[in-house]
Subunit: 290 residues, 2 copies
DNA sequence: TCGGCCATGAAACATTTGTTGCATATATCG
DNA sequence: CGATATATGCAACAAATGTTTCATGGCCGA
């Protein structure tokens, strides 16, 4: 019997499968089909669901070279551990300085960001939008590169909530705005690693003031996610070695604005139309054609 | 204190964090930062690694409304379970006006934007980046919602091209900057329908001054694409009835900055490092670990 | 047909798990 | 300052875990 590639515990299992006794094959197939449950639930639990004897799992693990079920589970767990780096990290590192290296870089980056977008939790965004809709006043805070996200959200919300939306530090020092947070208002903070001190200060102030805190961040471990009523996550580290990506944050901000507008109903629609009418009247926009 | 949304166990945890006793905050942060280990390894194991008492984990779970650590772990496990449904499987098209209509709206929007990203022309972006790299000075113009894109691009380019990058109208009236365009410089204009008069004026001025004009727009028919040396297209109308999407424009801006940085080579790298060092020295960012 | 061999399930085992009670340390308020 | 309440670590607890042993049942070769 040849020892196959040990790349993954699951592939070891598959290759050894045909040479196993019948019952062990069944159990092995069950593990392969439910490897997530295999790493999280208990052996006896799995046995009950698979309709097999608990001992079969121990025997299976030993049959494919592990000291016991715990060892196999540990291997499966490590194999499933989410990589800290981007999923495309080990990819296309071959080309260093070619004419197409930059093009490939962009393609990979875009592809990675496209993969990250559907992973945003739509229900969380919807909940947060409800909170924005109920807020009497909306503060938005974002520093450094996140300032662009903050300003986009500010702009879109102002289209139908003019006067109730404000950027923290937009007109004067941050401290002035921070002291103005009140209960019944909402504060949106955008940020990712490395976190700016200002953003966590805003978040803490919002919490202390009893305002609804909405954090748009790259991790639940972000300092400004502490005490947040809503945490909206996006993937910032989509391209290694370069600046973190804000595409996800922008997508969240836009969805937030869209749903908040939708919740506004006819009133919001009217205010948006008024705003648009005013803009065209001031001839901000160029005429459609010609 | 209102009971916040319970979309995710982790966000519940984040929301409750500041109101917990100190030691419970520590273990709570540990769980938030290592949620994968929390679902796989044992409580005592985690306690040893976190340097805390095992009982603290049980108490934490109860403090945020669970019957015990097992219940919290089960919730985290379910939250992390890989989605079994294929991305495009049974999307209920019958969304009319239900509680989930907003969620479906967001999902569709994100999906559509994800589809639009790979359609961006990577080679065009690479060419434009080359032009930016060669430019002695870079002007960036974006108005209304596009201002956020302009500022992001400005921010990222300044990280390694400080002093050579400037937003049009960033410090004073637009006309002052517009008159300053010179040959050998580059002007980036971002815009989509309906096009603002200002952005068109910037584009025309850049053309007349003989500067390299880079237009980021939603269509080749855009007024500011006329005379442009590089036209970078993105899809703005991803979801009908709402504000156009800026996700594509942001992705382009970021790619542009990334490639320009890449072209800058060692010199750009050094200037970026200097900037980062200066930022950390001013203690803009919060320390990595508590 | 008999006898060794292996696969299989059930029960007993030693560990480890999550939990809880208690005593001490610390903070809060009168 | 004293009294009360809370927070925290330690140790003992019952339950659950993975493993092992043993008895049973079927299979193949002699």
């Amino acid at each position: 019997m040849a020892e196959p590639a040990k790349s993954s515990p699951l592939s070891e299992l598959c290759s050894a499968l045909p040479s196993l006794p019948m019952r062990l094959q069944e159990v092995g197939r069950f593990v392969a089909a439910n490897d997530y449950d295999a790493t999280t639930r208990s052996m006896r639990d799995l046995a009950a669901e698979a309709g097999a004897d608990p001992a079969a799992f121990t025997r299976l693990a030993k049959a494919i070279g592990y000291s016991g079920w715990d060892a196999l589970r540990a291997a499966l767990t490590e194999a499933r551990r989410p990589s800290q780096t981007s999923p495309f990290s080990g990819r296309a590192k071959g080309r260093r300085h070619g004419p197409n290296s930059d093009v490939a870089l962009i393609s990979d980056k875009l592809e990675a960001e496209a993969l990250g977008l559907p992973r945003i939790s739509a229900s969380s965004v919807a909940d947060a939008a409800k909170a924005l809709h109920d807020a009497k006043r909306i503060w938005i805070a974002g520093f450094r590169s996140c300032r662009s996200v903050a300003e986009l959200l500010n702009y879109e919300l102002r289209l139908f909530r003019a006067g109730e939306v404000q950027i923290v530090g937009g007109s004067g020092p941050d401290d002035l705005d921070i002291g103005a947070f009140r209960a019944g208002e909402a504060v949106v903070v955008i940020g990712f690693t490395p976190y700016t001190g200002a953003s966590v200060r805003v978040a803490q102030a919002a919490y202390r003031a009893g305002a609804t805190l909405i954090s748009i961040a790259d991790s639940v471990a972000a300092p400004m996610a502490e005490g947040a009523d809503h945490v909206l996550l996006f993937e910032a580290a989509s391209s290694p070695g370069f600046f973190p990506s804000l595409t996800g944050a922008i997508a969240i901000a836009q969805s937030l604005a869209a749903v908040t507008f939708s919740l506004g109903g006819a009133a919001a629609k009217k205010r948006l139309q008024d705003t648009e009418a005013r803009l065209t009247a001031t001839s901000i926009y160029v005429s459609e054609k010609g």
